[in-house]
């Protein structure tokens, strides 16, 4: 087996991973990123809308500053976030946007003069200022007080990721693509790297490093209906759970995006609503303003997704062979806008739906979109439980999103957290030496090889991995969606426990040679089902509604009992449920829990603890 030694191993070459790698390489450390696909195909490339930073250049962003961004983020999180982290994030975001500017991102810029914009289907005028000419401009996104989302037409993620990968190439960061991490090398106290499987040859390779970072993005593909790329499958989250000592935070916090298209669940960007698109029901009437008079379509995603589901339950959904949906209307924005600033949307609609959004309505419904939960870290990005293990980006629960992430805050998080955590890793490595236990490397590799051999020989059974995966996805789609109940979640957990038994007896139907895609799927299925159980069981236990977590049987946000973060451990490999522990949502409250200003709901105040 080949063993590769580096100062820093980063699992993932999306924006978070590459930003951290750039930081490490810039400080003279050797860094390697692993990735399933070439770095530039990472899911970060798919983000169209943009990234939030309080630059305040556009006239609609006037008066914006990092305090307002902080407040929006905390409200967005429904007070579920770590406020120290949200503060760090809001303060750093403008610097990172400007850094990206120097590195080559072609941000859209302020053009002085009058122009029109749409809100709630109506047209308004604005006038951009001469003195801001050429500075980074911004568009409107849900849940924000100001126009704050920096963008590159509708290819923000693409452009920023290409720039970041250019930067990494310039700094000599190695990216080993077609390499899939399948286990961490660790002894219960310290992490020493990971075992990866080559997706070219099928060989196992040991990557040994003093610091290891998980930057593998989200794990939406444990759901069937998801906007995520097919590689966002939580493989490494499973490996992290497998350590038994590192917890995943807030796994029940799953975001559903209002505008996944029907039937393929491809996302059309929130920029559609930000730029003035409206949601219509079966009668082609707007409805969001009934529920949210102030923000209407531009309330936060959790709120919009909830009202959409509610409205469909009232019988206002559009029937279709793929189930009910609603309409997204951007026709009034006009052809120039749609084929220009929303070109990807135009292409997605025409090529995947055969719908021309300039003249036709787009069928949409809430679809799994973002994982707020992930590898629990402290504010430096260090994972709980294992020295030398770090995490950032969507993979992590750093936790500035709490129970709902605002559009544009994730892409911004990847570069902000990637930068901060990268710098912390550099600091950590300054006077850190570790004795590499070679026995641990051999042992971990041997164990993985044994798993592979057993799957090929069918030693543990011959369950079909694709069928098991489908059973898991169906259980989640059914029981742990926008609205949740005791009954639905109990059934979901029980089904998943059964699926877990099946996952443990998967055997290959084909020979498993080389890059075998069936073997890839089989190696991660048990971990995926465990993740699904963390989501469903965490949701079952959390008896309140907060952000994207809506319990119909507990509709109030309960700050008295649940101003907490769930920590899910998998203490023994043979357990069939995670062990849940809780910690305070935030070490300090710069902004005390209050009303979000949208998504009206009952709040059980934290103060009532003292009263009762």
């Amino acid at each position: 087996m080949q063993t590769i030694y580096k100062d820093v191993l980063i699992i993932g070459a999306g924006l978070a991973g590459e930003r951290a790698a750039a930081e490490a390489a810039g400080a003279g450390l050797s860094a390697v990123c692993l990735s399933i696909v070439p770095a530039r195909r990472s899911h970060s490339a798919a983000a169209m809308g943009g990234m939030q930073a309080a630059l305040g250049n556009s006239v609609m962003g006037e008066g914006d500053n990092t305090d307002v961004h902080f407040a929006d983020t905390v409200k967005g999180s429904d007070w579920g976030c770590d406020q120290e982290v949200a503060r760090l994030f809001a303060d750093t975001a403008p610097i990172e946007m400007r850094r990206l500017c120097d590195w080559g991102v072609p941000w859209n810029r302020v053009v002085p003069g009058k122009s029109k914009y749409f809100k709630g289907g109506k047209q308004f005028d604005k006038e951009e200022k001469e003195e801001k000419r050429g500075l980074i401009t911004a568009r409107n996104f849900g849940g924000t007080a100001k126009w704050r989302t920096c963008y590159v037409s509708d290819g923000t993620g693409h452009s920023v990721l290409y720039t970041m990968d250019n930067r990494c190439a310039q700094l000599g960061v190695e990216v080993h693509d077609k390499s899939e991490a399948i286990a961490l090398i660790q002894d219960g106290k310290t992490c020493y790297g990971a075992i990866a499987r080559s997706l070219r040859t099928g060989e196992l390779i040991a990557y040994v490093a003093k610091a290891t970072m998980v930057a593998t993005g989200g794990f939406g593909k444990i759901y069937k209906a998801s906007t995520n790329a097919v590689i966002c499958d939580g493989g490494v989250h499973g490996a992290v759970l497998d350590t038994g000592v590192v917890p995943l935070g807030n796994m029940e916090a799953v975001q559903f995006h209002p505008t996944g298209i029907v039937p393929t669940d491809i996302l059309v960007t929130e920029g559609c609503r930000g730029d003035g698109g409206t949601l219509l029901d079966v009668n082609e009437e707007r409805f969001m303003h009934i529920y949210e008079p102030d923000k209407a379509e531009l309330a936060s995603r959790d709120v919009v997704a909830r009202w959409m589901t509610h409205h469909m339950r009232l019988g206002k959904g559009v029937p279709s062979p793929y189930g009910e949906h609603l309409w997204l209307d951007i026709r009034h924005l006009g052809e120039k806008h749609i084929t220009g600033k929303l070109r990807e949307v135009y292409e997605i609609c025409t090529s995947f739906l055969g719908v021309d959004p300039v003249t036709q309505l787009i069928p949409v419904r809430p679809t799994q979109h973002y994982s707020m939960g992930g590898v629990r870290t402290n504010k430096d990005g260090a994972a709980y439980g294992l020295k030398g293990l770090f995490s950032a980006g969507e993979a992590a629960c750093w936790d500035m999103h709490g129970f709902n992430r605002l559009g544009g805050n994730s892409l911004a998080e990847t570069v902000v957290a990637g930068g901060i955590v990268g710098a912390k890793i550099v600091e950590f490595l300054k006077d850190y030496e570790c004795n590499i236990p070679t026995a641990e490397i051999t042992k971990t590799a041997a164990k993985q090889q044994q798993r592979i051999d057993d799957m090929i020989s069918g030693k543990n059974g011959n369950e079909n991995v694709y069928k098991v995966r489908e059973a898991m996805q169906n259980a989640l789609d059914k029981g742990a969606h926008v609205f949740r109940t005791e009954e639905g979640l109990t059934e979901c957990v029980e089904t998943l426990q059964d699926v877990l038994r099946r996952a443990r007896s998967v055997g290959l139907q084909t020979d498993g040679y080389g890059a075998s895609p069936e073997l890839s799927a089989a190696l991660k299925i048990e971990g995926q089902v465990k993740l699904a159980l963390c989501v469903a069981y965490g949701a079952l236990q959390r008896r309140e509604s907060r952000g994207s977590h809506n319990r119909e049987d507990y509709p109030a946000r309960n700050d008295r009992d649940w101003l907490t973060r769930t920590l899910a451990y998998w203490k023994n490999p043979d357990d069939d449920l995670p062990t849940l522990e809780y910690e305070d949502a935030s070490p300090s409250f710069e902004m005390p829990p209050g009303d979000r200003g949208y998504g009206k709901m009952q709040i059980i105040s934290a103060d009532s603890k003292e009263e009762s």
Binding site: V37, P38, R40, R41, H43, A45, A46, I95, M97, R98, R99, C101, D102, W103, G104, P106, W107, N108, R109, V110, V111, R133, G134, L135, V152, S153, G155, H158, S159, Y162, N166, R167, A169, Q170, D177, K178, L199, A229, V230, I231, P263, T264, I266, L267, P321, E347, I348, S351, F352, G354, Y466, Q509, T510, D511, Y513, G514, A515, S516, P517, E518
Partner: protein, 245 residues
Amino acid sequence: MGRQLKFKIFRFNPQNPESVPRMEVFSLDETDSMTLFIALNRIREEQDGSLQFEFCCRAGICGSCAMVINGRPGLACHTKTKDLPDEITLTPLPVFELVGDLSVDTGSWFREMYNKVESWVHTDKVFDPTAIEDPMDNAIAEEIYELDRCVECGSCVAACGTARLRDDFMGATALNRLGRFVIDPRDKRTDAEYFEVIGSDEGIFGCMGLLACEDVCPKNLPLMNQLSYLRRKMGVVALKQIFKK
């Protein structure tokens, strides 16, 4: 719908000593809104779990899934079966190294390309975290993005006559990439420096002008325009260099 589709798919797993290159046939009932993404996944999940192919975003954004579809390179996720006849032939992209079946290694090829054209902003400016950004004209920003839109799918390279003949030809995508930096005011490289990179048969002068690249580009990038623009610009540099000697 009710069509029965016949897929003739190239099969070869170089890691399996017993595998020989061949075409294999799979049948599938066509369903509503079926794309090649849906079809290939169904074939893998229901008929042959070892079938290798690449998909990532499955939304026409990431460039993973380029393959030769009935003789023409294109994105598979983007291709609806209803636009194809009921016999569909799928082969991997030529030029790139084969990983197995329909999967090729575009990553290494493109990494070499962007290292060669030094696909990053060349500047002496040191980032100052306390300063505001340098202003830029929005029209220029949009122009840069127009060329930045390449998803490195490799279709243009696979369709290119020169690239098939010579390993070192950088192709339309490299020229397009460089073009992006030529118009970027942040990049301080001179024309002469650009000429160093592309002023040869590996670059600008290797093109036979067959136009196949632009024809197949799923992002509709103006590849030929870009090429002739650079060729004119580089032509001037070449002349200057000849007269200097």
